[in-house]
Amino acid sequence: MTDVLNALVLFANFIFVPALTYGSQLALGALGVTMIYSVLRFSNFAQGETMAFGTVITILGTWGLQALGVNLGFLPTALLALPLGIAVTAGLLLLTDKYVYRYYRTQRSASITFVMASLGVMFIMNGLIRLILGPGDQNFTDGERFVLSASAFKEWSGLDEVLVIRTTQALTVILAIILVALLFWFLQKTKTGKAMRAYADNENLALLSGINPDRIVMITWIITAAFATTAGVLYGLDKGYKPLAYFHLLLPIFAAVIVGGIGRPIGAIAGGFIIAFSEVILTYAYKKFLAYLLPSDLAPDGLVQLLSTEYKLAISFIILVVVLLIKPTGLFKGKVI
């Protein structure tokens, strides 16, 4: 019995909690991509860099607050700086819209033109974040490190294996739930949210109904800024800020969006968790886990790891390709690109 419990705790500690956290971060990032896709009708390749930019501003704000001696007790100070990060990122996105995307919108350019433009925006932001904060890694996590520490868990359960929940992990999941609930409430219940869905559904009819497209586009960018910055900051708090890591997030985020069905918010969330759990489950070494569950003479000698962690990105890529081949509309019947 204790063996089974130990195996379960092992599973929770090394698979469930990390995948849930990572999935929440992907889901928030993917929601930004899917919102841009449904309203502006293109895949925004600058999403990863947008997340990084929001994080950079939040880090600067955090340092400023720390210099002033302000902190949030056991929570990371970055939470206080997050609104600043969102506001500045929203400003940057609105500027890129004004000087880049608006031109193509008035030209009624093809979707692929927008995608290429967003690729250009991505490279510029890529340089911008390095100009501001340099190419190096930054750690900006402060406050209490654990919600549930190893010793506390051990004392409570008396098991050999421990379940550790870091503050940043709990924070990620809670913030993601709040933001997603807010988004759904906004889209389903408010007049502006409904207008946004109407515009995404049928642009011409929305115009005939008197919906102002400029306003819808603006709100979409602001929501994207909020989701991207929050996702980026949570990822940075959880794993540290590394400029290149944000660029690498682009693939799992796009995989999440497409697995769920592009243009469908619920799909982006489901997709985020599917990608995160697949990555963690397929790259975890099950040696210890199996040793608990199998009779001792059957315990495996090798690591029992399906894929080494270096192949993490390949998992997103394979899922992406398989979904596009078998069910291009994704799980929740999104649009086909």
């Binding site: 409904k194 869905r197 995404a200 559904d201 009819l205 005939l208 109904s209 008197g210 919906i211």
Partner: protein, 235 residues
């Protein structure tokens, strides 16, 4: 002087050739006017010109005596013209009620009454108000489309081929509904492919050919005209 009139309209899309060559269309309150004619005669184009979706090089559009030729479609909608496009005329991923709410987007007053009126006019919509418009049948969708357009409490309702692609039974039902809308005192202008059936219920009919008025008369008179019958109604 008619309530809505497009006079001597000349124009086409963008810099292309002109499709309208001086046609005149008018409709009064409580009247149903129908535009019929062969393919490519400019029927839909004439209606779109009156809505402001293409630029006229000559001619004018007047609503209740006021010149609205230079107004954008949005501004004309605010003036009381409602338009139901031929295709893609509902928000498929939204419920019936949300579709109606979107029709009232520009209204700042309480539009609950208008929704109730539309439910009275189209009882099936009340029954299906929480269903997605995309899940409805063709005829029901058209009712959603007309309902959405009527949410602005317009004085003119323009319908672009409302019966395209629906069965004859549904077509009859839709026409009945349109007559009820007309009876509320609205001016209804309709472009129709099913010319014979449309002229039967029309107060006024326009037969357009090559962007010009060929025949204009009451619906019944046009149906009785041997020339119109021979050329446009198949004998």
């Amino acid at each position: 002087m008619s309530y809505l009139i497009g006079e001597n309209m000349v124009g086409g899309y963008g810099s292309g050739p002109s499709i309208l060559n001086g046609c005149t269309i008018s409709v009064d309150k409580g009247e149903l006017a129908v535009i019929v004619g062969p393919n490519g005669a400019g029927k839909s184009t004439a209606m779109k010109a009156m809505l402001g979706m293409l630029k006229l090089s000559q001619g004018s559009v007047k609503l209740n005596g006021k010149d609205i030729t230079s107004l954008s479609p949005q501004a004309r909608i605010a003036e009381g013209i409602a338009f139901v496009p031929q295709t893609d005329n509902v928000f498929t991923t939204m419920t019936v009620e949300e579709n109606l709410e979107m029709g009232a987007f520009l209204r700042t007053d309480n539009f609950r009454d208008t929704i109730d009126q539309i439910y009275q006019l189209f009882p099936i919509l009340k029954e299906k108000r929480h269903q997605y418009a995309g899940e409805l049948s063709g005829g029901q969708r058209q009712q959603v489309a007309v309902g959405r357009a009527m949410m602005t409490q317009p004085t003119v309702l323009m319908l672009d081929e409302p019966t395209a692609g629906v069965s004859p039974i549904v077509m009859d039902e839709l026409f009945d509904r349109i007559l009820e809308v007309k009876a509320t005192g609205m001016a209804v202008l309709m472009v129709e492919q099913n010319a014979r059936q449309a002229l039967e219920i029309a107060d006024k009919g326009y037969v357009l050919v090559m962007g010009e008025n060929r025949h204009t008369d009451t619906g019944q008179a046009l149906l009785a005209d041997p020339d119109v019958r021979k050329s446009f109604l198949g004998g």
